[in-house]
Each structure stands twice: as C-alpha cells, then as structure tokens.
Point group: C4
Amino acid sequence: MADFQESETLRMETFSDGVFAIDITLLTFQLKTPSLRAATSNQSLALALFHQWPNYIAYFISFTTIFIIWLNHHRMYNVIQRSDVRFMFYNGLLLLLVSIIPFTTSLLADYINTPAHSLSAALYMFLFAGISGVLFVMWNYATANYRLLKRPAGDVRIQSIRTSHLVSVITYTFAAVVSFLLPFLSILVGLVMVVYLSQLKYHRNKVV
Amino acid sequence: MADFQESETLRMETFSDGVFAIDITLLTFQLKTPSLRAATSNQSLALALFHQWPNYIAYFISFTTIFIIWLNHHRMYNVIQRSDVRFMFYNGLLLLLVSIIPFTTSLLADYINTPAHSLSAALYMFLFAGISGVLFVMWNYATANYRLLKRPAGDVRIQSIRTSHLVSVITYTFAAVVSFLLPFLSILVGLVMVVYLSQLKYHRNKVV
Amino acid sequence: MADFQESETLRMETFSDGVFAIDITLLTFQLKTPSLRAATSNQSLALALFHQWPNYIAYFISFTTIFIIWLNHHRMYNVIQRSDVRFMFYNGLLLLLVSIIPFTTSLLADYINTPAHSLSAALYMFLFAGISGVLFVMWNYATANYRLLKRPAGDVRIQSIRTSHLVSVITYTFAAVVSFLLPFLSILVGLVMVVYLSQLKYHRNKVV
Amino acid sequence: MADFQESETLRMETFSDGVFAIDITLLTFQLKTPSLRAATSNQSLALALFHQWPNYIAYFISFTTIFIIWLNHHRMYNVIQRSDVRFMFYNGLLLLLVSIIPFTTSLLADYINTPAHSLSAALYMFLFAGISGVLFVMWNYATANYRLLKRPAGDVRIQSIRTSHLVSVITYTFAAVVSFLLPFLSILVGLVMVVYLSQLKYHRNKVV
C-alpha cells in the first residue's frame, strides 16, 4: 500500500511548519537599516526610514500571506489522515514556491518605485497564483473519492474549499496581468486576499 | 463552534516557538566582524571590537527581551485551553511585531552613537510598547468571561497579569517619549523591564 | 548498554529535521535581487532576471536534493528503533555535509558561466557523492546483524537500499570527474538522481 | 511551588534545540564564495578556495563543538525531571553565549592569518570556556541535593560530570591565555575537546 501512516503525515507537516516559520522570519531581511551617511540627525533618519515605505508594505503583505498559507496548509492537514508519495511531492513543490516569496518580496520592495514596477508587481502576484494553484491541485488530489481524508469525510466542505482555491488562482493571475497597467492594484489585491483566505472553513462543524 | 481543539492550540504555540527561536538567533547578525583594514594588530582589533559596544548592549537587551516575551507567551498558553480565529490573529500580529525586533535593534546599535540617537531609541522602545500592548489585548480577550482558559480557571491571576502588561505598555511608551531627551534611559528601561517581566506569575499554585 | 532509548533516537531525528529545514530555506539566498542600476525599465529588469538562470537551476536542484535526502533520512529512521554513539556521530557528519550544500550551490551558480565552471560543478557533485557515502555507511552500520532495526526487521529491504546508496555514490563521483569535460552534465545528473532517489522503498509492505 | 512540570521542562528543551539547530546552520555563512574577479580559471578558483582554509577549519571546529554542546545539553536534560526559574535563566544565558559562537568563529577565520591572530583565537577559546562554565553551574545547581533530578537519582554520575565540566573550563581558559603565545594551539585544543566532551557518560546504566 502506498499510504503513509498518520504519524508520518504528521512529520511532513512538522517539517513544512519549520520551513514556513523560517521563511516568514527571513522576510525580516526586507527591513534594512538606512546607511549611516544618509542620517546625520533625527530628521534625516526619519526621512530615510520614511522612504523605505515600499519595504514595510511588502513586508506586511508577504508576512500575512505566508501566515495565511500556513494556516490553510494546517487546516488542510487537519482533515487529512493519510499521505502518499505524490501528495508529498505536491507538498515539496508548495514549500519550494513559498521559499521564493522572500525573493519576490525583495523585488517588489526594490522596484515598485522605479520604471520597472510593473514587472516586479506582476511576478509578486504570479508567485501567489502559482502557490494557490498547488494548493488547489493538492486539495483536488486529497479529496477525489475521499482519497486521503479522515472519517467521517462527509463533513468536509470539499466543494467550497475547491472553489476558494480556484478563486485565488484566478484573482492573483488577474492581478499579475493588470500589474502592467496598474502596478499598485497588486498591493491592494494582496491585502484583500489575506482577508478572504483567512475566512475559509474546511469543516462543517468547527472553524479551524 | 469557533473554538480550536487543544491540539490545534498546541500547533499554533509550536509555530510561534519556531518564529521566536529564529528571531532570537537572527540577532546574531548584530555582531559584525570588524573589517580587515581596521585591524592590523591585536591592539587595533581590540579597539575595533570595543567601538562596537552599542551592538553588544543592543544584542543583550534584545536577546533577553525576546526570551522574556517567549517565556510570557508560553506562560499565557499554559493557562489557555482553547483558541479561536480572533485570538490566532492577535498571535499572528504578535509574531509580526516580534520579527521586527532585529530591525529596531540594528537601528539602535547603528545610531545610538550619532546625532540621530533619539529617534532610534524611541523606535526601539515603541516597538516593545506595541508588543506589550498586543499581549495585553490577547490576555484581556482570553480571560474575559474565562473565554479560553483551562479549568479550574479561578486559580489564574487574571487581574495581576493584566496590570503587569498595562504597566509594560505605559513604561515602554514613556521611555519612547523620554528618548528624545535622554536616549540612554531607554537602554536602562529595557534592562529593568526584562527583570520585571521575568517575575510574572500567571498561576496561583505554581510559578511557571 | 550503549543503546539510546527510542525517544532519544526521536530527538536526534527532530534535531536533524530542524537542520534540514533551515538548510533548505537558506538556499533562498541564492535568489538575489538585481542591483537597481541594472534595471531602469521592465525590459532591463526582465533581462537582468533572465541572466540569473544559473541561480534558478542551482536553487531548484539543491532544494529538491535536500528534500530527497531529508526524505531518505526520514525513511531510514522509520525502520530504525535504536541509536548508539557511533551512529549519532555518522548523523552529525551527515548534517555537517548537508549544511555545506548552500555553499557549493552558490559556487555553482556563480561560476557555471565562467571559465572556472568545471571545478564548481565538480565540487557540487562531489559533495553529493560524500553525502551519499555517509548514508551508505549509516545504512550498513544500522543493518549489520539487524543492529539498530525495529522488529520485525526481516521486512526491511536491506540489500536493495544498500545498492541504491552505492549507485548514488558512484554516479555522483562519476559526474564530478566528468565535470572537467562536460560541466553541464552535472546539472542533468543532479536532476536524474532526484527522481531516482525519490523512488527508494525501505520496507516491503509499505512505501514510505 | 516553584517547580516546572515535566512537560514545561520539555518545552524549554525544544526551544533550546531550535536555537542550537539555527546556530549550527548559521555557521554556513562562514563559507563564502570567492569574488568573481579572483577566479578566472579552474586553477585560480581552486587557489582562491584553498586560501579560505581558516574558514573551513573554523567551520569544522565550531560545528562539531555546537553539536557536542547540544549533545551534552540533551544528556543533562535526560537526567533532569524538573526545572525552576533560576535554572531556566541559566539556560537562557547558555543560549545567549552559544548564539555568539558564529561571531567568534567569523573573527577567528578572518584574523587567524593576520597579526591580530592572538586576540581572535583567545576570544574564540574564551567563549567556549564561558559556555563550559555555564554548563558547570547548571549541573551543580541541578544536582545539589538531587534538586532537579529524575529518580532514581543515585545512578547519575554527578561527580564525574562535574569534574568534566571543570576540566573544560580550565582547558579552554588555558588555551585562551596561551593563544597570545601560540594562537594555533587553540585550534588543536578545540579539536581535542570535541573528542573529550563526546565521551561524557551521565548515567551509570546507559551511555546517552
């Protein structure tokens, strides 16, 4: 049988948690101390810090988005009992993409104020679309014929979660495309999606 | 029901522990090797290292403060049995703010010896005030009507902890404001608060 | 008796997991934001990003390889019940070598496009050969006379895993040597080995 | 009562494990890719890498020493059942000092080849002496009147471990002082101590 035991599914979840926790903390490197020459008084330091506003916004959106992805990953594993080799590789792909978030965050923060803002915003949104796509595929695979679900699986809101992941893919892809016209819309979409994705209910009886 | 199960509260706690452990270790980047040109003998290396004293002090205060925040976070979760979506978002906000500590630590270390010292000290203290504020709100939310507490909840020192968090918010905010007159006072307040916060007793019967 | 208890074997495994998770996430530092001067428009940013293709390929191979090493480490511990001092030191050596992967990855990404490509590719492959060698030694030590195996040990595919690790050592060493003629072959070998190593079955009754 | 419950002692141990795992992995930053200008052929890259030998040695000693400290920390917690506030602060101090190892490692690697080698080697050894001192104090505190020990505590080799930690403090302090005459002796002492400390037996009946 190609199933993992429950304890092994747990271990993959723990490993994933570690990667999520490190990625969310590595975002800290977005916050850079202004160079000493730029700040010779409280006023000039305040100004130098103020000019870093794209970094703060990018930090905030990426932090909350990784937190929400972690939360949904956790909620998904909550209703899953087993795992198999293919599901584990989907999970590896998810971690690989999540680990790229600090890179696209850095791109967005550095370029949102330059003529290259459209591309940086588009890549930022496109990565989120890809991550949502992997979550969509993982969910479809786990729930087809209740393949990997805990019993009683009937309580799991399979269809509503499926739709939510699909909505995420479409919204992020749309934001990526629109970035070439309105780069700042991406930032707004990023914030709205955090609120939307935090509301997903995986289970009929409890909100987790 | 909007409650988390106990095991899920545990998982949020484990994730938080990971973020705390990484943040406390990232402080290490405050300690920088002096550039090779600055040190051509044991004496010049000693001097170059000595000139980094603001980094050592900032490292020490931030390390002990994060350790104490972790400890109080842990003590809070010790008397909590359940969790809900709102409490979890408070916890996410706490982690976001704690992850900024390496940034304000770096600011303090770089600017405490420059004319911009007041602003760097004020921001350093203000972040600690914000973190204390979130802990205050979390504690109020968890203990209102014994909402998330373990039974028997009567033993929990609700009011005394509440006061302590309020004292923290006020002291740190006061230190942030006073930084504009006496920047070095912040450092002293930071040290005193570590001792104060390490003494909090959450439970009548045992000190944890 | 020189054996570890089962719970202590678990703790070594958890510590190893932490190191694997951090190493796999530190690979993110391969992905560097192009300098602002290099990109004054969407086109020039796209070009600057495109020129970093060796970084993306090196990131991808290293990420998947660490993931696969973690997976095989996990599968090995799954069939092991005990541990002793010598096995623990083999494990420490494994972690030391895995922690060097971000360094050789960085070497490969920086030099694959320069006249020094052969050496960087050879070192990259040679480290993987060394890691496979340690896994081979660990497996031999654990399975000799079923020394550290869980019962019933008869179900463990001792010989087939042994062969697989030996194949890995030989293939990676071969790729390291051939790098001096065909440096890009290493990249191909790295990709093929990820697929090969993901297929290993440690146990007759289940695929884990 | 001022004791921690067993589960809380476990949580402090898990937090410490996280800090150890991150510190040991951050040592990777000692291994730096030579700058592209330094290497225009396989030969020049090989030479540039060879010139980094102090980094490799410093990496090796620090990695194995942190591993051994972790191991002894783990062995100590194995025979400890309870914890109290003071023991926890000793543990916090231990983590603070261990987190400085990447800094002194970097100092050693950068300066062992310069006229400032004595000071860098002395600081490197002195930090290890300090860490051994904290382990000595922790052990004395935990074992006085069997204060924090698991039952049956009679099997614990209290005196022999106590002596070993004392030997460590003296040896490392001696090496720190001698560094001003023979800086390279530190490196040798560092290697010998790893072997010595890996042999400590905390318990009469089993080697853990």
